[in-house]
Subunit: 315 residues, 2 copies
């Protein structure tokens, strides 16, 4: 384990892959051994949007831009919220990211959200921690915006990028599903297609509906950037918008605040999970739970009444 | 409270509405007072499928059929997994169910999934318990199959109905998203539209991909029923398929088994929630948690290391 962490710190890619797999398989030892208080936190950019918006192509173009501009190590975590399997449905995305496979300064990891202990957010946190230890900065977390996943990805990112395309159906869905609420930067990708102007107006309207910041609170006017990821158009402007948002966060102390909030959310999630584990452990709580459980299974006690008895005097 | 439960048991609709609102608002007192071990469990039918499949119209037609056949009280819980507000986005569905508003033997309730303590499954369980107390049987739980909601609705139902329509996009999505895995009965609604035959073949193929039952385990060949909900075509056949599935469950003791499993899942969820609440309560656990929380917020202790210390000796 000390070896693994040592190799990881030295930037060894195989050690990183191994640590990520261990973490993904629920082997928490590597994570427990990790003291992230001593590791500089990388900048985290979340990328979300409806299927087909060209997120992977855009991320690939952004990575290329950052690398060309001298960023030494860029990490990408691609999360598929619908797949129980690592990388399965993301094969296409992986192929789109294939241009970076020979670049040691880029590390791409596909992750399944289902099945991971604690869901998407926990999995991303762990992956980002490990990438941080290996020196990757920034880490880009990409996920398809379906269900709750866009809210979860916003929860792990410093800056959340929402990617839309000029396609009435998708954009209306995205605006409706509240995906706008989490956007720090909006990208209109495939902006060479008809309907980009119309979409921009719709997005602007959607953004205007967001709650106003409290009086005195710093205001960030969400920029809308048009890109054509396939030929790199607008990617420099996107990188500039991301840098501007980072500067905004730092200027107002929001980066530290949001990271502290994230640590607390993580603590809460881990504490809940540990307590749930204690229900099935060896202690007094587990003993009492087992007895109540048997009565609930038989049907002679309701779940609610059982729980009311569970905590009496144990905690 | 005793009054409310008394009136509920007597079938008073206003008491039912009030109890459901209290439960939905997180006022657990009414639920804690409820001893469901003494109440006969209604049959629960879950209905899911992609948006636009005609689920509400189908449910409405099924309710009409059951009522005409002499079922005294039919309950419907319509869940919108995307809405944080009760009934908001379901207004259209409510209108489609409006034919039953003058029928005292039908009770329709819209429910929001987000925000409810414990999510969709917990909310449905509570609503079903209250409807059961008021004598409604069966209770039909309808939800849009997006994200995880179809899996959750299958978790609260004895029989899960998946509704599809002859529309390539939707059906492919549904088949892809694993909605098939939870189906006990598949309905092809709007079966008078072109493509019904093709869809039935796709569904059959999708069903064939499901894991086989263990050797010796009872096998249920999932029926595919074609309906035109707007004119009632196929609704009698659908009711027959539902009755056949119930008979299958009863014949093999699966109904009791699945209900026991559901009670245990509910117990586990409630116990976890109660323990999470204890983190922020008055006891020793909360005191220790508060101290660790402060260090994590400052950044001098990682969430994982904090949790490792949390449980030492407390439980």
């Amino acid at each position: 384990m000390a070896d693994l962490l040592g190799n990881l710190r030295a930037g060894d890619t195989r050690a990183l892959a191994r640590a990520l797999t261990l973490a993904e398989n629920g082997d928490a030892a590597v994570l427990d051994a990790l003291d992230t208080t001593a590791v500089p936190q990388p900048r985290r950019v979340g990328v979300t949007g409806p299927p087909g918006a060209g997120k992977s192509t855009l991320v690939s173009a952004l990575v290329r831009h950052l690398r060309a501009g001298g960023t030494p190590k860029v990490g990408v975590v691609a999360v598929d919220p619908s797949s129980p399997f690592s990388g399965g449905a993301l094969l296409g995305d992986r192929l789109r990211m294939a241009e970076h496979t020979l670049d040691a300064g880029v590390y791409v990891r596909s992750m399944a959200a289902r099945g991971h202990f604690g869901g998407l957010a926990a999995g991303c946190e762990d992956a980002c921690d490990l990438l941080a230890l290996a020196g990757f900065d920034p880490v880009i977390v990409e996920t398809v915006g379906v269900g709750q996943s866009e809210v979860e990805v916003a929860g792990v990112a410093d800056t959340t990028l929402v990617v839309l395309t000029p396609n009435a159906g998708d954009s209306v869905q995205a605006l409706k599903a509240g995906i706008m609420e989490v956007a720090d930067v909006v990208v209109i990708n495939k902006a060479d297609k008809p309907g980009a102007q119309r979409l921009e107006e719709d997005v602007r309207e959607g953004l205007d509906l967001r709650p106003h910041p409290a009086p005195g609170a710093p205001h960030w006017p969400v920029p809308i950037v048009r890109t054509v990821a396939t030929d790199g158009t607008g990617v420099a402007e996107l990188a500039a918008a991301l840098a501007a948002h980072e500067a905004h966060l730092r200027a107002h102390g929001l980066l530290d605040a949001s990271r502290a909030r994230r640590r607390l959310a993580r603590l809460e999630a881990l504490a809940r999970e540990a307590l749930a584990g204690a229900l099935h452990g060896q202690g007094a709580l587990a003993g009492r739970y087992g007895a109540l459980r048997a009565r609930v299974e038989q049907g002679s006690l309701t779940p609610r009444r059982a729980v009311a008895r569970l905590l009496d005097g144990v905690i």
